[in-house]
């Protein structure tokens, strides 16, 4: 096979993914974007949580209940361009078919619990037995070493961030920890590390012929971001913790009110030249002793009050533009409505639209990783559950139509349910507003 300059870096790579929710699926989505054939192996008896979520507008549509599992926005958000293969791994027949697929894959990627993978018979040893040079990447909560104390424990999404210290670091200094309810950094940091490990493993395999087993404990991976705080605790006993929006490295930095209800602006002006620029804008609205950087730090409460009194007179978007024009890092504190009409984001093709068997087309966010020459592709939105079972078993595992029929008949595999049942999202007519070149989506 000749490789041309525009071939995607993961062309020809096939990934077997046992993913739930985010950590593994987000990694798989990046792989698919850059050319890999990612097989999302799914179960009807214990489905991916994003299949259970469904979508908000469908809640009262009993007529569409059968296809709710294809309609959560997370299906496309985390699984665009993958193929969905319905296999029941707890059945002997389904497992055998999965092993046939695995023999033809380059990468095994999973964020099932470590014990669940062992119980299913898809631990590294079992997979390597059918595919010795597999790049096997797993993302369990606490690692795959069964001798470790937390091995059997469950931690997912909202529970993982507090475990690894993120919640204790969140909130104003004198308040209880505020928690980080709507973001789960451990999932995504693990996913990014999984992508790094997967590509590294593929390069190693191509160079040496040897596969690799990479164990990404979500606990350990996220802790790798806390180095300086661990060191300072060891050296001085200082327990670094939350400090609002302030910076350890200078002042001012904060979130300040603007005119209107719940309108805020974030400002970072921690360096000397930042202060000079900000002071030129603020004028006499702040005390002149703040020109001393030590006073800016020691009297931050007073400084923040004076800045807040000043920002409160401005409309947030105008003020952000004005401060950035003066060379100061600032941005409105965007709400989800604000993001809808963030024309900077849309101008960069951040929202992508691709074909969906169930929904006609669907929207999801682009890859934050941009490559200039091999810029990636989206072959489809999130797949319908079991949509590609037959084609994958035939084309990849080499199974005959009859064998696939049998496998389905005994409950080892399943296909997309009610393929003729399709619908569109209620906001289908407005999708184009998320694409560059259209008017502001503000009036949606």
């Amino acid at each position: 096979m000749t490789v041309t300059e525009t071939d995607l870096p993961l062309n020809g790579i096939r990934v077997f993914e046992l993913g739930i929710a985010i950590a593994s699926p987000y990694c798989g989505k990046l792989m698919a974007h850059f050319g890999a054939d990612v097989l999302k192996v799914e179960s009807q008896t214990s489905p991916d949580v994003v299949r259970i979520l469904g979508s908000a507008w469908l809640k009262d549509r009993d007529d569409l209940a059968a296809i709710a599992s294809d309609t959560s926005p997370y299906v496309s958000e985390m699984n665009a361009s993958k193929r969905s293969v319905g296999l029941e791994l707890k059945t002997a027949e389904g497992k055998a078919a999965a092993m046939q697929l695995l023999a033809e894959c380059d990468v095994f990627l999973a964020n099932f619990g470590a014990r669940a993978l062992v119980d299913l018979g898809f631990d590294y040893e079992a997979v390597a037995a059918v595919n010795p040079d597999i790049v096997y990447v797993q993302l369990p909560g606490f690692g795959s070493n069964e001798d470790l104390p937390y091995y059997p424990f469950v931690a997912w999404g909202p529970n993982q961030a507090p475990l690894v210290g993120m919640d204790d670091f969140t909130g104003h200094a004198q308040d209880p920890p505020a928690g980080i309810a709507t973001v789960a950094p451990p999932d995504y940091m693990s996913a990014l590390h999984a992508a790094i490990a997967t590509i590294t493993g593929l390069e190693q395999r191509d160079a040496t012929g040897e596969g690799v087993h990479v164990d990404i404990s979500q606990f350990e991976t996220t802790l790798a971001l806390l180095g300086p705080f661990v060191m300072d605790y060891e050296l001085t006993g200082t327990v670094h913790t939350r400090m609002g929006n302030r910076s350890m490295w200078g002042s001012p930095q904060g979130v300040y009110p603007c005119s209107g209800d719940e309108r805020w602006i974030a400002i970072s002006a921690t360096e000397k030249q930042d202060w000079e620029a900000l002071r030129a804008v603020l004028g006499s609205c702040v005390d002149s002793d703040f020109d001393d950087p030590l006073i800016r730090v020691s009297a931050q409460d007073r400084l923040d009050e004076q800045i807040a009194a000043w920002t409160a007179g401005f409309e947030s978007e105008d003020l952000a533009g004005r401060l950035q024009a003066a060379g100061i890092a600032a941005h409105i504190v965007s709400t989800n409505e604000d993001l809808l009409h963030d024309t900077h984001v849309t101008s960069r093709q951040w929202y992508q639209v691709a074909e969906s068997t169930r929904l006609g087309r669907d929207v999801f966010t682009n890859s934050p990783v941009k490559l200039s020459r091999t810029s990636g592709r989206w072959t489809g939105a999130g797949p319908s559950m079991g949509q590609h079972t037959r084609e994958v078993l035939s084309e990849v595992a080499g199974m005959s139509a009859g064998a696939i029929d049998n496998l389905i008949a005994v409950g080892g595999a399943f296909e997309q349910i009610d393929p003729e049942m399709t619908t569109t999202r209620p906001w289908e007519d407005w999708i184009h507003l998320l694409l560059p070149g259209t008017e502001d989506a503000r009036d949606l």
């Binding site: 969140t170 909130g171 971001l225 990783v369 091999t374």
Partner: protein
Amino acid sequence: MSGPYSGLRVVDTTGLAGAYATRLLAGMGADVIRLEPPEGSPLRRLGPFAEGIEPPENSLWWSYLAMGSQSVVIDPEDTESLTKVLAEADVLFEDRLPNTSKLSTQDINPKTIRTRILPFGLTGPKRDWRSSNLIAWAASGILYTTGFTDRAPVAPAAPVQLAYHASAASALVGTLLALRSRRLTGVAQEVEISMQEAALSIAPETGVPMFMDDRVHRERSGNRRDLGRPFGLYPCQDGFVSIIVLMPRHWVAMSQWVAEATDNESIVEEVFADNAVRVEARDLIDDWVEELTQRHTRLELFEEGQRRGIPITPVNTIEALVEDPHLQVADFWQTTSLQDDTEVKIPGAPFRSSSAWWSMTPAPRLGQHTDQYLS
């Protein structure tokens, strides 16, 4: 150094933006050169600082993030030296827009992969805007939804600088893809990361596709959420624990536990099996759960709750993490040596591989390797 990227030459001219990426590359064997101006990398000015060591060698951020790398000092105007260092580079990490500095205008070897981590990317109306960890979170929708309702919103784990690290890790994914592509085709390319997009990509819950779906304005709700009960942070003897009860079996186990530990017969009543009822009666449920949690420590609740199959975790502080029994048995922690030879504990490898991928050396002194590359 050994490792999968042994022999790869990487030049990092960034501060926090790329540091986590090049730290990982160094840990996996690459020759990472941190190009520093005569006054040192901006990382060297980031506290906390080690006592008894003089600047610019005392920053713990530098001592951690610059591990495994080499320090080459070049005056930013010294084009000749710049050319020399860049000549053999496989990868160049930058955090500046093109044509804004000598370095960014420098012609580089066509085989060099150029990875740029920028506040808002190379294109778009905000391309010239400045950023920071706080600004990236503000522009992602997450900052607005984090915090208590009666207080200003807060960035998630602000001191940790997650927006930078997520950008760096994303940049590394792109860089490794570009290296693979170069190996297969012989042709290099550029990698671009917008910090705003790196933050947006880890924030889909407040993102536009989810908002289009339910049209619910996300707002901050403190450290509990009305998706279920108990759901969020609960005080205990030595801090807080996080409890997420959504599934029926988790509620059964949770209510049994509270009933046994606090002689509460009401909590096991059938009516509370309905999550919607629990959310409606959230104050009552929270009081009952707190009666249990306040009698125990984080670790007691973690171990007993997990034994009962309940999704509960400790809200760990740095101190609790360093003392955590699992991490100790796992032999997670490693050490590095500061410039005065003090040994200090650091987090170990971010993942464990069956092949020998990870090894580290201490961070370099300012200009420690200048002669090696310029003489």
